[in-house]
C-alpha cells in the first residue's frame, strides 16, 4: 500500500531521521520527502512523506513509533495498489469443486477480494466459471497463475487468463 502523510516535526536536529527510521525498519520504501520550511505551527515544521509499506499492520507499527517519538500526524492518506484477478475456467466442474476453489482462493495471501460466477447446471458435462477479484500485491498474481495452471491440468479444465496475467 502507498501512504502519503503530513507530519509536524519539532525544529531540532534528528527529528526527521527519527520520523523516517521506523518506515525503513518496517521494510517500507520511501518515495519522497518534502520539507515545508515556511509552514510552521507551534514551533514545528511541516514535512510531507510518501512511502510504500507491505500492509496495514506495518503502517500501524510505524504510527506507534511516531506516537512514542511525539511526531504529530496532521493528515494521512493510505492507498492500496490492487491488481485485477481474471480467470475463466471451462470444463466438467462440479458444484463441490466450485466451493472448494472459492475457499482456496479466499485463503490465499494478498487476495483482497474474490468473486466466482458460473453458468450451467451441476449435471452439465461442461460448465464455465469466471473468477474475478483484486490482489493487493503483484506476487499474488504469479501465485494465482501457478494455482490455476496446476488445478486446470489436474482436473482437465481449459484455463483462460486475462490478457495481462
Amino acid at each position: 500500500m502507498k501512504v502519503n502523510v503530513n507530519l509536524r516535526l519539532k525544529d531540532i536536529p534528528g527529528q526527521l531521521v527519527g520520523a523516517l527510521e521506523p518506515i525503513s525498519a518496517n521494510d517500507g520504501n520511501i518515495r519522497g520527502v518534502v520539507h515545508h520550511h515556511d509552514d510552521r505551527l507551534g514551533g514545528r515544521i511541516a514535512v510531507n512523506v510518501t512511502f510504500e509499506v507491505r500492509n496495514e499492520q506495518a503502517l500501524d507499527r510505524i504510527m506507534e513509533v511516531w506516537k512514542k517519538r511525539e511526531v504529530d500526524i496532521a493528515k494521512i492518506d493510505a492507498f492500496f495498489d490492487t491488481y485485477p484477478i481474471q480467470y475463466l475456467i471451462v470444463g466438467n466442474i462440479p458444484t463441490k469443486e466450485l466451493e472448494s476453489l472459492t475457499k482456496a482462493l479466499e485463503s490465499m495471501e494478498n487476495v483482497a477480494s474474490i468473486e466466482v460466477r458460473y453458468t450451467g447446471s451441476a449435471n452439465s458435462s461442461s460448465r464455465a466459471a469466471l473468477v474475478t477479484g483484486k490482489a493487493s500485491r503483484k506476487e499474488a498474481i504469479t501465485s494465482l497463475d501457478e494455482f490455476f495452471k496446476k488445478r486446470a491440468e489436474k482436473r482437465d479444465y481449459i484455463l483462460i487468463r486475462g490478457l495481462d496475467q
Partner: protein, 337 residues
Amino acid sequence: MKVVIAGFGTVGQGIAEVIGMRQELFSKSFRQKVRIVGAFDSSTFVKDAKGLDPGELVARKAATGGVGAKSQEGKIREFIEEYDFDTLIETTPTNILDAEPGYTYIMAALNAGKNVVTSNKGPLALKFRELSRAAERNKVQLRYEASVGGAMPVINLSRELLRGEHIYSLRGILNGTCNFILNRMKDEGLPFDQALREAQEMGIAERDPSYDIDGVDSACKLAILANAIFNMDVTYHDILRTGIRSITEDAIALAAEQKKVVRLIGEINDKRLEVSPRMVPMGHPLAIGGTLNIVQLITDLAGEITVVGRGAGRRETASALLSDLLAILSDDHAKGR
C-alpha cells in the same frame, strides 16, 4: 535473377503470378528481370533456362492439375543442387511431423549456394537453427516473412527496421480461423461446433480443422517468431499450447459480461512462450475481429508497435514472398552482383 518455384499449389501459383505482374519494378529498380526457370509440384515438373511464362504455368496447373511432365521420384533434390538458378521459392505444404519435403528442398538449395524464400512453417518450426546455420555457412539468404501472418510484415519489420530496438515482448493473434470462430461465437451466441461448421462452409476452416483449432498453426508461427526476433533456439514442441476446441458459448458469454472477448493469443516474453485462449478487453487492439492477424511488440525506444494484416490468401502470401525476393535483389544490387 533466376528462380525455381517448389510447390505449385495456391501459394506457388500466387507468387508466379506476382512475379509476372512486377517485371517492370524488377527492371526499373534492379535492371534485371526475375525469370522463373523451373517449377514443380508433388508429381510434375517443368524447366526452361530461358524462362517460363507465369500465366501459362498457372493455366496448365488449372487445366491438367500439374505444372509440367511427370517428375522422376527422388530426382528433385539433385535438380535443386545441380540446376543453374539463384533463388528457390519454397511453397510446399507445412508438415509439422518431419518438415518434409520442404526441409530437404531448402537444405539442398542452401548447401548448393542458392538463396531460399519460403512460406513453409514446418522446416522453420522444427529445424530453424539448422537451416539458419546452413544459410550462414553457405553465405546465402534464407528468408521467411511469408511463413508467419501472410501479408503482415512482422519478421522483416522486427529484424530490419527495428534492428536498433530492444524488443521485450510480443503477443498477437496468429490464426485467422480461430479468430473468426471465436468472434462468431460471441457475436451470434453460436456453440463452437456451429461456428466451426460455418467457417468450413465459407472455406475459412479446413475439413480437418485440428491444425488451426488446437493451436498447432499458431504455435508453429510463435516458434518461428521466437527464433527470428528473440534469437531463441526453440521448436514448435517447446511452445505451451492450448487450443479453442473446448471453449463453450457460456464461457464466451461470461467473458462478455465483463466486457471481454476471448481470443487465441500467442505470447513471447521472459516468462512465457505460449499459445492459449485469453480474455481481451473489448476495444483493445487484440480484440480484433474477422480473420485478420495482429502482432504487438513492446520495445524499449519505440514503445508499443502494432502490426495488422491478412494472415492468409494467395495474393497476400505472395506479397510477403515478393518482399523477401526484393530484399535479396536489393542486397545483391548493393553488393554490385
